[in-house]
Amino acid sequence: MASVSSATAPAGVRAIGPRQLVLGGVLLAGLVVLALLPQYFLLSSEQRTMAGVFMFVALAQGWNLIGGFAGYPSFGNVVFFGLGGYTTAILMAKSGVAFWLALPAAAAVGVAFAVLMGLPVLRLRGHYFAIATLGVAEGVREVVVNLDGLTGGNSGITVPAVGAKAVTSYPGNTGFYFYFLALALLATGVVWLVSRSRFGYGLRAIAQDEEAAAAAGINTTRLKVAAFALSGLLTAMAGAMYAFQQVTIYPARLFSVDITVLMVVMAVIGGTGTVIGPVIGAVLLQFLSEWLRTNYTDLHTFIFGGIIIVAVVLLPMGIVSFARESWAHRRISLLDTIRAYRL
């Protein structure tokens, strides 16, 4: 998949050679394995862990669109997650709307908010953009806390999942395994399509030099807002599923800065602007995080922070680029990557 997405092939050219066939076969086999896993191999709790992994694949891909392709490091993407989750929870709990109607509604809220927020905020660059998005996310969280008539405030809101009031029956761990798997596939598919489309090349141009991109005739505002909206769509859908899965949701969790940081770390460690990078990053880090949580409960966050530090210093360009470089030069040298970015 990574090689398909690489920027060497011009957009629109889709040669199907033996390499593509092999890749397609591997992909198909992987999907079959993933589809069969819950029934034959995984315990219920392991399915839940896997659902978490898939969710973060979708979140990291969502961030990849705006942060990786367009080069706008959003530190507030969790706002879409929270809004998606709260839209779903409110619709299901207060209006008795079925999950399958609440999910597209949440996605629509994500897109609408991304456009409204993006139009002013995407005019900012670099740290200013990062912080403005962070500020919006924190501000929205406090608004959600204070609208306690609608959202339940800090005591949270509960989706009716069992009993007579349950509009959509709770799908259980196996159900959510497939929901989140589908979402992760959708997100990765979207990123793959973007990566080889005119839209994707426009975003890459913006990331490299926005003035030059504008001079070359790219409508930078429209592309950036579109990327942000797509990012908001995927992230809000993840939030919607997460809210249903958790049953009771709280603003502190659904708008947590940690979720934003996790998606950034996953995309960055895997490789920003690539299709497969965020998948690798999300899978690695989420398993690592779960493993640390079960084995070193007290030290979990402490060690995780240390891992972030080490990973950023050793792999600043991400695993995918590192692997490509190492393959191209036929040697593995972490020192080279450090030399590239140090003072």
Binding site: P73, F75, V136, E142, V265
Partner: protein, 294 residues
């Protein structure tokens, strides 16, 4: 009216301390283009040093704050010199991630060492105050305010009047040119970060005397520093002072009239508005503008 005056005075007193918290953050951002997400953790380390020295050795906080400042100066220098310098030239989210990881380690280290309980540093003058008309000014906050302003002005003097301060400024303006003039940029970066951490540590030790704190407060300090740095313009110390006072007052007003839980929302509404209307801050321009780094 009394309420309004009292809120304003409280806000100004808090704002002075906030300015000291933020001035180092602004300096680091302005000079090195690094947003240090571990800044709040440094503030808390300072607070815990002050608390520990007071509770185990009986050293008063006014003395302990110098210990905290010195300790964090050293820590900050080492962190910048041997860690952050490694990724200074990477895309900006790398330094954001690195300092976030650092913040996780430091904050959870504090939880492991001191638990997550709320602490405060008792002082002999803590409960006294003077009354002007209907407005009450507690001595503790007044002293904290005075110290914070003194430190901030001291930093302004240092930056304008010493060789090292000028070297820091020069590095912030143009790293390549500073190098050509013989400035040892790696060391200057380390010292800049150390000074910022030291001021944060002093601010933390003072903060402990006027309010309770726990490791969970680290994020709040970092976010407030963001707001102040942006309000004042990056690397602008007078701006940080003005931004701190402004944020303190705005937060006090919103706490008075909107209810306490919207304080951050108001702060960020101010921030986002300022960013969109005047991205360079209310006072002056940041050092860092679009330019090629050498």
């Amino acid at each position: 009216m009394t309420q309004f005056l009292q809120a304003t005075v409280n806000g100004l007193l808090d704002g002075g301390l906030l300015a000291l918290v933020a001035v180092g953050f602004s300096l680091v951002w302005g000079v090195m283009n690094i947003v240090n997400l571990a800044h709040g953790a440094f503030v808390l380390i300072g607070a815990y040093i002050g608390w520990k020295l007071d509770s185990s050795a009986g050293i008063p906080p006014l003395l302990a704050m110098f210990v905290a400042a010195a300790a964090l100066l050293g820590v900050g220098y080492l962190v910048q010199r041997y860690l952050i310098n490694l990724v200074v030239n990477a895309p900006i989210w790398m330094t954001l991630l690195l300092t976030f990881g650092l913040s996780l380690v430091l904050v959870n280290g504090l939880v492991l060492l001191f638990t997550g309980d709320f602490r405060s540093i008792p002082t002999s003058y803590g409960s006294d105050g003077l009354t002007l008309g209907d407005v009450r000014i507690p001595y503790g906050r007044l002293i904290a305010f005075a110290i914070a302003i003194a430190f901030t002005l001291g930093l302004v003097w240092f930056m304008d009047r010493t060789r090292l301060g000028l070297a820091i400024k020069a590095t912030g303006m143009d790293r390549g040119a500073a190098r050509l003039m013989g400035v040892k940029v790696r060391r200057v970066y380390g010292l800049t970060f150390g000074i910022a951490a030291g001021l944060a540590g002093a601010a933390g030790a003072i903060y402990g005397t006027v309010d309770t704190f726990s490791p969970a407060d680290a994020g709040g300090f970092t976010l407030q520093s963001f707001v102040i740095a942006v309000l004042g313009g990056l690397g602008n110390m007078w701006g940080a002072l003005a931004g701190g006072l402004l944020l303190g007052v705005v937060q006090a007003w919103s706490g008075q009239y909107l209810g306490g839980t919207l304080i951050n929302a108001v702060a960020f509404a101010v921030l986002v508005t300022v960013l969109i209307v005047r991205p360079a801050g209310l006072l002056g321009k940041p050092y860092y503008e679009a330019r090629v780094e050498v």
